[in-house]
Each structure stands twice: as C-alpha cells, then as structure tokens.
C-alpha cells in the first residue's frame, strides 16, 4: 500500500465557503458527472446550519429585521467568522460588533445592542449554577456596614448598557401583547441573570451597570457607588439594590468586621 499525501482539507474548506470556486478536483461522482450539486450539499450544511444557529441565538434581531434580511446578514457573518470551537452555544460572540459595522443595518442603530443583550441571555442560559442568597440572610445584612462589604455575584450575571431602550425592545418582542410605540431616544441598562433556571432581563437604574461591574471585579459597595455616580450623578443606591436583590444577583455578601 502506498502512502498518499494528505488530502488538501484547506482547499476543501475554501471551496466550501466560496460558491464561486469549483469543488475540489479530487472529488468524483459515480457516473463521472459534475460534482457541483453534490458538493453544494456540504456548502449548504455548513452555511445553513450556522445561519440557523445564529437565528436561534438572536431571535429578536431576526424579528426586528425580518427573516430574509437576517439570513443574508448572518450568512455574511458566517463567511467572515466561522465558529472557533464545536460548542455552537459560543457562536455569535462577535455578531454584535459585526452588525454595528454592517452598512445595510445602519437604519436600526439599536440592533447591535439588542444582539449584545441576546448574546448575554444565551451565555446566562449555560452559565454555572449557584444558589442565590436567601431572603432572610439579605434582610439580616447590616446596611450601616455595607460600604466596605464585597459581594459574590451569580455566575450568570451580565449587564449591557445601551443608548437605546433595549430592555423594552426585548420585553416587547418576548410577549405577544400590543404595547404603545417605544420612545427610542432614551437609553436603558439591562441586567441579565439566571438565579435558578429561568432567565431574567430587567432594567437597572442609570449607573447600575457600572455598579455591577465594580462589584463583580471585587470592589466594595462603596467603590461601586463611586463608579456608578461617576457616570450617573442621580444614581440611587436603594433603587439599584432593590433590583439586584429581587432578581437574585447576590450569591454571597462579605461584611468586614
């Protein structure tokens, strides 16, 4: 048996991704017929499969632009950036950035942030489990010593800040009920968390996303308030804490003695 050279997988992949290229010439059909239609099965599997994965990952973006537009846009993304791992739930990590540079989508300036929110929702779905702090322990927190306290946040916790009302857009598309038209000229900061199995998407008061980011990177509540007021003068700690406590963001709070 002779040892043949490795077949050229790189050429196979180039032909898969570029429909202008002919199928690799090492392929043959039983009758000696042209292999184009048969090779197109692989092209189609790769492209349609990944476009479907994006459609499943970004259902609200799809609703916002319509099926035809979304699939054309997603196809461009697929050609530009294939998955880096076989775990398709990680696919689409650069989709929001891609959408922000996708000229035909410029008319919907909020689309990239909606994509960012949807990616965060998907990441929360697969995030590690952790038990949120029970309500009675939360009630027992010494509020006077909170300033120097630090917190462990639920592993699924994510924030997405936007110049557009992304939480309202998300909620509107998640429910079938008719709502009054959105005022697009106000921003919202979205909190995404999955304390048990259900994913919660809720709006934080202005500055809330900086507050959460500061806590997550190990800062004290005092430092987190500073981070929030640096961007939002009217930051209200009580409003923000209420939202965070209600949604089960805290897994542990350590109060220094």
């Amino acid at each position: 048996m002779t040892i043949s050279a490795d077949f050229d997988q790189g050429a196979f992949v180039r032909a898969l991704l570029d429909p202008e290229l002919p199928p690799p010439n090492e392929l043959e059909t039983p009758g000696g017929f042209r292999p184009e239609r048969r090779f197109a099965v692989y092209r189609n599997n790769v492209c349609v499969g990944l476009v479907d994965a994006l459609a499943e990952r970004f259902p609200i973006c799809l609703q916002l632009v319509g099926d035809e537009f979304f699939r054309a846009m997603a196809q461009c993304y697929v050609r530009e950036r294939l998955p880096r791992t076989p775990m398709l739930f990680e696919y689409g990590d650069a989709f929001a950035t891609f959408v922000s540079n996708f000229k035909p989508a410029r008319e919907l300036p909020y689309l990239p942030d909606v994509a960012r929110l949807e990616y965060a929702v998907g990441a929360a779905y697969h995030a590690a489990d952790a038990a949120p702090l029970p309500l009675e322990l939360i009630r027992a927190l010494p509020l006077d010593r909170l300033e120097s306290a630090t917190a462990v946040l639920h592993p699924s916790t994510q924030v997405v800040a936007s110049a557009y009302p992304i939480v309202s857009i998300w909620r509107r598309h998640m429910s079938d009920e008719k709502m009054k038209p959105l005022e697009l000229d106000r921003g919202e900061e979205a909190l995404v968390v999955r304390p048990e199995l259900a994913i919660s998407v809720s709006p934080l008061p202005s500055g809330g996303s900086d507050f959460v980011d500061a806590l997550r990177s190990g800062g004290t509540f005092g430092e987190a308030v500073n981070a929030a007021t640096a961007v939002a003068m009217d930051f209200k700690l009580t409003d923000c804490l209420r939202e965070l406590l209600l949604t089960g963001v805290f897994v542990a709070v350590s109060v220094a003695h």
Partner: protein, 308 residues
C-alpha cells in the same frame, strides 16, 4: 473509571451497555412530555457538544434523564477523520462530560469537521487510504485512552467519493476496528443514502458490514433531491420519519446482527413527542420480531439436541 495504558485493555470490555431496545434523541422541548409519560423508551441520546456549558437547563434536564434511563452520548465535534491533531481542549471537555454522566455508550463519526481553528459544523468526508487510516487510528486510540473506554465509530452519509480512496468504506472500518478495537455504530440511513448517491447496493453494504462489532444502530429520515443530470441525491437531513426502504434495510441488518440498541434520530423540524415515540415503537416492533425469531431458533436447536 481508571485510565488505561494500552488499547488491549479495552478488549475485555463491551463498548456499550445500552439495552437492545429503541431509543430517541433527547430534545429539550420534549422534557415536560418525558417527565409526564411512562418514559417508555429504551434509552436517550444527546449530542455531547450541547452539554459542555457549565450549568443551567441543559444539565438540570440531563441529570434526571440519566438517573432514570440509559444514556448514549454522541459526539459531533472531535474531527476524527482530519489530518490535524485532535483538539485536546475539546477532548478534555468530552472527558469531563463522560466522567460526569458515565453513559452506556459514547459514539463519534468517521468524518472531519475542524480545519485549523475553524469549526465547520458539518460531518465532512475523507478519502479512504493508508494515510487517512493512520490518522483515524491514531485519533481513535487517543480518544479511547482519554475516555478509558472503547468508542463506537459511525459510518458517514456520502454525496461524493475521492479519487484517492484505496479502500472501500467497509474495508476501512474493518481496519480501524482491527487496529483500535473500537466498535461500530451502523447508521442504516447513511448506508441507504450513500448507496443511492454513489450507485452501489445498500443490501450488499449491509450484508458485508462487520456486524459483530455493531453495538448501536441509527435510523433517520432523509431529504430527497436530484443532481444536475437527474440522478438521485439523497440528503441525510434528520428531518422526517424513517422511510419504508430504511425500515426494510434495518430489518436486513437485524437479521445478521440480532437485536441491538437502535436510535431514532430526528434533529430538524423536531416532531411532537407522540410522533417521535411512535417511531421508537415501530423500531421496538422490529426488535421484538427479531428477538422472537432468535428465541424460536434457539428452542428448535434445543429440541433438536434433546431428540438427538
């Protein structure tokens, strides 16, 4: 499960402890129906890559499923048929999953899906020759070493063939089994689809398949198309009920193999739970007839021995 130093150690152990019954691919949307029903399926199969996240609903559903039913884990991302080294990080994730759920069987494909750092999300074909055989054997060895168990390798659906192939698919699979002591997953639909697309006899393929190494069978529906010259082009789409021609081929395989774990694969246009269950029931009927045929033949042999 301890690490094994040499593939020889695997020989004492069957690759699969799946029951010789019909199972179905588990879909998250069916979970409430499965919880509510009598779970009258022989086993569930999952795609490994969908359960490589840290937590959440996927694991919350899989834990009770695994507790109450035999589980088969089916990988779609190891790229066994590629020339490149296996993705060690991915193999590590797979090992974690297999250790966590200790499934009755783990299976993968005779195909490739990764090139460089790019995952193509499809089961792509390879030529069958000495070079690719060496890669496949090395990869199967490495996986079996990492998982500490023999794996089942699945025959692919083919649309084209390679000029550089020197073995038939069956010769190639036989060689992989001989050199790695892995076992086989016979996808009857893939055999049917490949035979139609490449113009060989599906019956002859089944008759020549190394059936004594088959520890699981897959059945699925395919999509029907034609190529440029009107020749049949069947596509392994997992999108429909198992067609009659595939049931007939399945029965032919069972006649040689005897009853064996059989999966209904239906991954696209996912049907209602009762529709999926009806497919499994149909497979159970084939398995039951074959089981009775085996019993009858044993009885008549016993009778013959008694009289003799």
């Amino acid at each position: 499960m301890g690490a094994r130093s040499a593939p020889e150690h695997c020989r004492e152990r069957a690759a699969s402890s799946l029951p010789a019954r019909a199972g179905v691919g588990f879909k998250s949307v069916h979970f409430p129906d499965i919880e509510a029903s009598a779970r009258d399926v022989g086993f569930f199969e999952i795609h490994a890559e969908n359960y490589m996240g840290a937590g959440g609903t996927p694991h919350a559903q899989l834990m009770p499923l695994r507790r109450d039913s035999p589980l088969s884990i089916h990988g779609v991302g190891l790229s066994i048929g590629g020339a490149e080294p296996l993705d060690r990080a991915h193999l590590g994730r797979l090992k974690t999953l297999v250790e966590r759920y200790d499934p009755a069987a783990f299976s993968e494909h005779l195909a490739w899906s990764t090139q460089g750092t790019r995952f193509l999300n499809d089961l792509l074909p390879l030529p069958y020759n000495a070079t690719t055989l060496a890669h496949v054997v090395a990869h199967v060895d490495e996986i079996q070493e990492a998982l500490g168990r023999p794996i089942l390798l699945e025959n692919p659906a083919a649309y084209l063939r390679f000029q550089s192939s020197e073995y038939s698919e069956i010769e190639f699979l036989r060689e992989v089994v001989r050199r790695t002591d892995c076992r086989l997953l016979l996808d009857v639909t893939n055999a049917y689809v490949s035979a139609a697309n490449l113009g060989f006899s599906a019956d002859e393929y089944i008759d020549a398949f190394p059936m004594s190494y088959v520890e699981e069978i897959h059945l699925a529906g395919y999509a029907d198309d034609v190529d440029e010259v009107g020749a049949p082009l069947l596509i392994d789409a997992h999108c429909a009920p198992v067609p009659d021609a595939v049931w007939r081929l399945y029965d032919r395989a069972l006649a040689r193999r005897g009853p064996v774990a059989t999966l209904i694969e239906w991954d696209n246009n996912i049907p209602s739970w009762p529709t999926l269950l009806a497919q499994a029931t149909q497979a159970e009927a084939f398995l039951g007839r074959r089981r009775r045929a085996v019993e009858d033949s044993l009885r008549s042999e016993a009778l013959h021995d008694d009289l003799g």
